[in-house]
């Protein structure tokens, strides 16, 4: 493996990894605040991809402009799902039940998507910048990867700004730290949960748009996505925002390096193996709190 290949792998990893980091941030935010593992995150990403696809193909709206419609739509979808199903979960099996409930939600959405869009893979590709590249750092980079990186960075920046610079963000962080204590100091944890779920789903609209522009997808692509997203948040430490960011980017870099150095066939598997190894030594993940061990 030459040095340039390595550099390419790292740059590509940072660009695509940031999109995964964005999707995983939504997932880890939901888990941290609500103790809900949202297995439907993968299918929500694909729903976001299809929304952008439909807008761009049928109405000729540029995918980036279309985000003005799809992001609020997905936010509302998230709120409705939370109110209708997630908020009803209680008791000691809440987290386990949340996996099954969100999975049932994802099955319904997958079925509807298959009926509406058929199972033939599609790709968002009717914008000029999707198929053209720019020569940077001695390599050809497709514009869409760079735009995707900037978009993910923008969204992540806004989320971090919201969390660390606003009053609402303070209540979210308080709920992340300790739900009972947050409720005791007068934070409406229920409302915070609903909004966080909405935000966690809303980011999938942006992630889904980039995913749909860089990959051919159909509804069952959600399985590949959710398995990656889950491993990212577990590796980073469930509920840790920094963990999702670091694990998301390093996962794709690692995959790219293995693909270049060894074989693309085995690159998928390395991340799962890395996860198993890390968790054998640090069961709480890279950035997880030790208390996560206590059920």
């Amino acid at each position: 493996m030459s040095f340039t290949n390595l550099v390419h792998a790292v740059i590509d990893g940072i660009l695509t990894g940031s999109v995964y980091a964005l999707m995983a941030t939504g997932l880890t935010l939901i888990f941290g605040v609500m103790d809900i593992i949202n297995v439907a995150q993968g299918v929500f990403v694909i729903l976001g991809s299809y929304l952008s696809y439909a807008l761009s193909v049928h109405f000729g709206i540029d995918p980036f402009v279309g985000l003005l419609i799809t992001v609020p739509t997905m936010f509302l979808v998230g709120i409705v799902v939370e109110r209708a199903f997630i908020a009803r979960l209680k008791g000691p099996e809440k987290t386990a039940m949340s996996i099954l409930v969100t999975y049932a939600v994802s099955l319904v959405i997958e079925g509807v998507l298959n009926m509406v869009f058929t199972t033939n893979p599609v790709q968002i590709n009717n914008a000029s910048y999707i198929n053209s590249s720019v020569h940077l750092f001695g390599m050809w980079l497709p514009y869409i990867y760079i735009f995707g990186f900037l978009l993910a960075g923008g969204f992540l920046g806004s989320i971090y700004f919201m969390l660390y610079r606003t009053r609402f963000g303070a209540s979210v962080r308080a709920s992340l730290a300790d739900q009972t204590a947050a409720a005791l100091v007068g934070i409406d944890v229920k409302k915070v949960s609903t909004i966080c779920f909405g935000i966690g789903i809303a980011v999938t609209a942006a992630g889904g748009m980039i995913y749909g522009a860089t990959n051919a997808f159909n509804a069952s692509s959600s399985y590949d996505l959710i398995s990656r997203l889950l491993t990212i948040i577990v590796l980073g430490g469930m509920g840790s925002l920094a963990g999702a960011l670091v694990a998301g980017i390093s996962m794709i870099i690692l995959e790219d390096i293995v693909a270049v150095a060894w074989s693309p066939v085995w690159s998928n598997i390395t991340f799962f193996i890395l996860l198993v190894i890390v968790l054998s030594f640090r069961p709480q993940g890279l950035f997880g709190k030790q208390s996560a061990r206590v059920a």
Binding site: F31, D35, I37, F85, R88, L89, K90, G91, P92, E93, T95, A96, M97, I99, L100, V101, Y103, A104, V105, S106, L107, V108, E110, G111, V112, N114, M115, Y223, S227, L230, T231, I233, V234, M238, V265, W266, N268, I269, F272, I273, L275, V276, L279, S280, P283, Q284, G285, A292, R293, V294, A295
Partner: protein, 334 residues
Amino acid sequence: MLTKSRLVWVGLFALLALFPLVVTTPTWTSIIMFALLYMAITTSWNMFSGYSGYVALGAACFFGTGAYTVALLAKHWNVPASGDLFWLIPLGGILAMIVALPIGLIALRVRRHTFVVITIAIFFVFQLSAINASFTGGTAGLQLPFIPWSFQDFNLPFYYLAFAMVVVATLLSAWVRQTRFGLQLMAIRDDEDRALGLGVKVWAVKLSGFVMSAFVIGCAGGLYAIYQGQIYPQFVFNPLFDISVALMAFLGGFGTLAGPLLGAFVLETMQLWLTENYSSGSLYLIIFGALFLIVIIFMPQGVVVYVKDRVTKREDRERSLLAQNEVQIAGGSQ
């Protein structure tokens, strides 16, 4: 000791045993055969996950291991295409247990939420290995000897083997509930730290429960391989399988004895019937998902627990009514 509930159990099992003798249509014997297979798998899964509260989403690891063991052994030992193939099934179960040991050693180090996700990650290691390795035949899968039985009777041996698996899994699961070991598993489900404090060797109990539950699932995988005559990595290591098993158990009643049997029977029969009659798999996804959401909203603990609660409540009400009447009668005679 033939109590009323035991009579019901025996009666229902007798019905299942007699079914292929009454309904001889191969389509239907095959549908119920698959339902039985899932009943055995879900019951066995529930014996660990349901009792201990550790929801494992990697049942397909054991199922696939069983299927590949039988397929590979049949190939390398040149087992003739006859009933002899069935002797390989227990080996599939044993290998599944051997595989379960390292999985358990890694996955059981963490508590509930993370455990769920780790089992998913380990599952993907298995699936991707089966797809990429050479001895598994890659995506082309493996071919098994095809048993030249007549079309009409082909399903029967498979049906009764699956039935035997259900009986074994149910008896094992019922027996575990009554042992000290089963109580320890359930203590872990209620409060693991307290169980540890009270002297339960939680680590050993969890690991042995996990490994035990793999046996029947591995056997089921072996039977599936022989029945299909051809296995593909994406079908025997299927993420849908993992979640279906958990859904079936939760739908019927997580941690109960009858729940997984009921949930698996209803869901698997429904799925196969729908695919038989409507070619669209999407419709099944929607119905399956919607049905589950309805059950969660109205009966969060599963159908079996819901019905039981209903019955006890009615009995309580009748008893209190009876008691009231007695009081009134006693008061009236004064």
